[in-house]
């Protein structure tokens, strides 16, 4: 733990911890959701729950784009990759996400050509270099990566590249947060807002949470002290009876977001009527598809996509973990049948998934023992 090594940070963390504790009302339980998988990572890595009083629980949210891709979409991608002449490209994070008949690596062992790329622009370059292949980019991610996909499609259109398309699985964070707020089995007191997504969408889209649901939101950075300070700001709002959107991460997040990025997304993509999220089910207007004007770059229009819905494995409780109803270690297969090496569920695949983060950094801390003994 870095706090221990860096005395000044540890001192600051303890000071924040004391301020947070002083704001706790006796007998009241507080539950805050950190929406972003990056935050989940910081919380486990630095054991931040140990700096919080027992009455505050951090609930891990759905903000890991790999984790929310349903099995059916992985199957669809593999189906496209199996078409003659197709060379599929994907971010490395996606390669080990299981579909109903295996993941991308398994599929390659059976003859498909799915290559890892760092950027959609690398995928476009592969298309230029392989004019006899249909190069498909497996596009995933929240608003953090959607602008990059959109810019790449615009570039492909400008260069009139006719062997490049995207299989669009971009999702939007706001409808997922709304679905969680409307979920009857979860009571939350506030949100630690995502950092990088907010770089693009800004802080305004969260205003309905404060206004209509009366819950405070604090957009937070990724350092341990950022998260502790954000929890302090949430507690202060509750203590003062306020519910507002605050930006703790002003060093990176502009209030209005990145307008160029938003324009690029809007030019190339439009909202789907609905989209399936792993664990959360179908959510209205929660994902994006390619606009008609860019149909030539839309793998879903170029290839037949089965679109079969595949139920999650029975043993897997990713859904409950993604909604924050279960802690990772409360899942029946956590750490036994399901590990980062042989993941059953998506939360164990991505390093930002709550299960993988906890598996990698899980420590028998006081809070861990307390949680475990409640089960």
């Amino acid at each position: 733990m870095r706090f221990v090594d860096e005395f000044r940070d540890a001192e600051k963390a303890r000071a924040l911890s004391a301020k947070i504790t002083s704001l706790c009302e006796p007998g009241r339980e507080y539950r805050f959701m950190e929406v972003c998988g990056g935050h989940t990572h910081t919380i486990y890595k630095h054991g931040l729950e140990d700096y919080l009083p027992p009455s505050i629980t951090l609930v891990h949210g759905p903000g890991c784009p790999v984790c929310v891709i349903p099995m059916g979409r992985v199957d669809d991608a593999i189906h496209i990759a199996r078409q003659p002449g197709v060379l599929m490209t994907s971010f490395g994070d996606m390669m080990r996400v299981p579909g109903s008949g295996g993941n991308f690596f398994d599929s390659n062992a059976e003859g498909t050509n799915i290559r890892m790329v760092y950027s959609p622009l690398d995928s476009l370059k592969i298309a230029r270099q392989n004019p006899d292949q249909q190069v498909v980019f497996m596009a995933i991610g929240f608003e953090t990566t959607a602008p990059s996909t959109a810019m790449t499609v615009l570039r492909a259109a400008a260069e009139k590249i006719d062997n490049f398309s995207i299989f669009c699985n971009h999702v939007t964070i706001i409808p997922a947060i709304k679905a969680i707020l409307d979920s009857p089995d979860l009571r939350l007191d506030g949100f630690i807002g995502p950092g990088h997504v907010s770089t693009v969408i800004g802080c305004r889209p969260y205003e309905f949470i404060a206004r209509d649901y009366g819950k405070p939101v604090v957009v937070a950075g990724f350092e341990p002290l950022d998260i502790l300070q954000s929890i302090y700001l949430l507690m202060l709002q509750l203590a003062e009876g306020r519910s507002e959107v605050e930006n703790q991460y002003t060093r990176v997040v502009p209030w209005d977001g990145n307008l160029v990025a938003l324009r690029a997304i809007g030019e190339v993509m439009e909202l789907r009527p609905y989209f399936e999220w792993r664990g959360l089910g179908f959510i209205s207007h929660s994902a994006m598809r390619v606009r008609e004007e860019f149909a030539a770059f839309d793998a879903e229009r170029i290839f037949s996509v089965p679109g079969v819905r595949v139920a999650d494995p029975k043993a897997c409780q990713c859904g409950e973990v993604l909604k924050g109803v279960l802690k990772p270690w409360e899942c029946k297969v956590f750490g036994t049948a399901c590990t980062p090496e042989t993941p059953i569920g998506t939360c164990m695949v991505s390093p930002e998934g709550a299960c993988a983060a906890y598996y990698n950094f899980g420590r028998f801390t006081r809070s861990r023992v307390r949680e475990a003994s409640r089960v």
Partner: protein
């Protein structure tokens, strides 16, 4: 994929103003700066890079903080950096 990697702008491409050479952890790679046209970066500026695109300008302190965070993550960051090293955007 979701990780924002800090980089320092080394030079802007002469014939493609939406591309820039950046230094990231000792390696120089080309990235796209087309999402920052409202406030274009110049050599010496620090930016946060997501999947080959600069998404925001940051100051040097934030770049260091972001690097600390990434290094604390370990393998995921090493994988991302390895992927960036293999990237040949143009």
């Amino acid at each position: 994929m979701c990780l924002g990697i800090p980089g320092e702008i080394v030079e802007i491409s002469q014939d493609r103003p939406d591309l820039a050479k950046v230094a990231v952890s000792g390696v120089k790679r080309t990235i796209n700066i087309g999402l920052l046209t409202d406030d274009p970066p110049v050599p010496g500026d620090w930016i946060l890079i997501h999947v080959g695109f600069a998404l925001s300008k940051i100051d040097e302190d934030e770049a260091r903080a972001a690097m600390d965070f990434l290094e604390s993550i370990g393998k995921a960051y090493e994988d991302e950096l390895a992927a960036l090293r293999d990237s040949r955007i143009d």
